[in-house]
C-alpha cells in the first residue's frame, strides 16, 4: 500500500509526543542542558516535516533535535531512533547495538519487534496504530507514560506471531 504524506505526518507527530511522554534516566544525557535527539536511520520519509514540527519545542527543558544517521557507531548520542528501509540483518544489528544505550527504538518492519525493537507502527484499516514490545519495555530503564501505553497494543518479541 502506498504510504501517504498524511501517514508520515501522524508518525512524526507520534515521535514528537514520545519526547513528551517518555522518561529517560539522567545518564542518557551528557549534561542537564543536553538536547533530546530524535535519530533517523535509513530512509527519511518525513522530508523536513519532523524538523519543522519540533522547532522551538522542548522536553522537560531540553531542546529537541533531529539527526540523521548512517553509521551504527554514531547512534549512541540519540534518545529515540526511528529505523526504516534497512535490510533485516542490518536492522537487527542496529537494534542489538542500541540495546546497550538508553535509546527508544521505533520502526515498522515486520520483524522489528521480534528483533528487539520497542515501538512499531502498523497500519490497520488506514489508521496508524502502535505496538509496544512488552519484553523490551520491561528490560529498558526508559519509562513510557501510561497515556501512550493505553493507546498501544502490547506484544511479545518472543511470540511466534511476530
Amino acid at each position: 500500500m502506498a504510504q501517504s504524506a498524511q501517514e508520515f505526518q501522524v508518525k512524526a507527530s507520534f515521535l514528537y509526543n514520545l519526547t513528551q511522554f517518555t522518561n529517560w534516566p539522567k545518564e542518557a544525557f551528557a549534561s542537564p542542558e543536553s538536547p533530546l535527539i530524535i535519530g533517523l536511520y535509513g530512509e527519511n520519509p518525513f522530508d523536513s516535516f519532523l524538523e519543522e514540527l519540533i522547532i522551538g519545542e522542548q522536553s522537560r527543558g531540553r531542546p529537541l533535535m533531529v539527526r540523521h544517521f548512517s553509521n551504527i557507531r554514531d547512534v549512541a548520542s540519540c534518545h529515540i531512533l526511528y529505523i526504516r528501509g534497512i535490510p533485516e540483518l542490518k536492522e537487527k544489528e542496529i537494534l542489538d547495538w542500541c540495546g546497550q544505550y538508553h535509546i527508544l527504538t521505533v520502526g515498522e518492519s515486520d520483524h522489528f519487534i521480534r528483533h528487539g525493537g520497542m515501538i512499531r507502527f502498523i497500519n490497520v484499516e488506514n489508521k496508524i496504530k502502535f505496538q509496544i514490545n512488552a519484553t523490551a519495555a520491561k528490560r529498558s530503564p526508559l519509562r513510557i507514560s501510561s497515556k501512550v501505553l493505553r493507546l498501544s497494543e502490547m506484544v511479545d518479541e518472543n511470540s511466534d506471531e511476530m
Binding site: 498524511q6 505526518q9 507527530s13 509526543n17 513528551q20 489508521k127 496508524i128 496504530k129
Partner: protein
C-alpha cells in the same frame, strides 16, 4: 482569547484523538479538549449525558468531526443533530476533519450546518486558523 472555549474531537481513532489533543493544547493551552469515539457518543456528550461532559456554560465549542466511524458516522451525527431537541447549537462550530477528499463526501457534509471541511491530519497552522476564525464569529 476571550470567553470559555472547548473542543470536542469525534473520531474512532484513539491515537489520532491523543495526537490531536496534544497538538491543540500546544497551540492554546487554555482550550479544554475532550474526545469521543463516534457520533452517538458525541450526541450524548452534547446533551450532557456522557461521562464528564459539561457543555453548559461554554461561550464557544468547536467540534472536529470524522466521517467514517462505527456505530454512528459523521453524516448520521449531522443529521441527528439537526433534529435533536435540547442541544444548543448556537455556540458550536463543526469542522469536518476527514481523510476523504471525495467530492461527494465534501458536498454531502456541506449540505449540513458545518463551518468547514478540512483534510487530515490536523496541523498547528490549521488549528491556529480555525481558533482565530471561529472566535471572530
Amino acid at each position: 482569547m476571550q470567553g470559555k472555549m472547548s473542543i470536542l474531537l469525534v473520531d474512532d481513532d484513539e491515537a489520532a484523538n491523543f495526537l490531536n489533543s496534544r497538538l491543540i493544547e500546544r497551540v492554546n493551552e487554555d482550550v479544554q479538549v475532550n474526545s469521543v469515539l463516534n457520533g452517538k457518543e458525541a450526541l450524548a456528550y452534547l446533551a450532557g449525558t456522557y461521562p464528564n461532559s459539561s457543555p453548559e456554560g461554554l461561550d464557544k465549542m468547536i467540534i472536529f468531526l470524522d466521517i467514517n466511524m462505527p456505530v454512528m458516522d459523521g453524516f448520521e451525527f449531522l443529521e441527528a443533530l439537526e433534529i435533536s431537541e435540547g442541544i444548543d447549537v448556537s455556540n458550536m462550530s463543526i469542522i469536518v476533519l476527514s481523510s476523504s477528499v471525495n467530492d461527494r463526501d465534501v458536498a454531502r457534509a456541506k449540505s449540513h450546518q458545518i463551518y468547514d471541511y478540512i483534510s487530515k491530519p490536523l496541523t498547528k497552522d490549521k488549528v491556529r486558523h480555525i481558533l482565530n476564525e471561529t472566535m471572530k464569529n
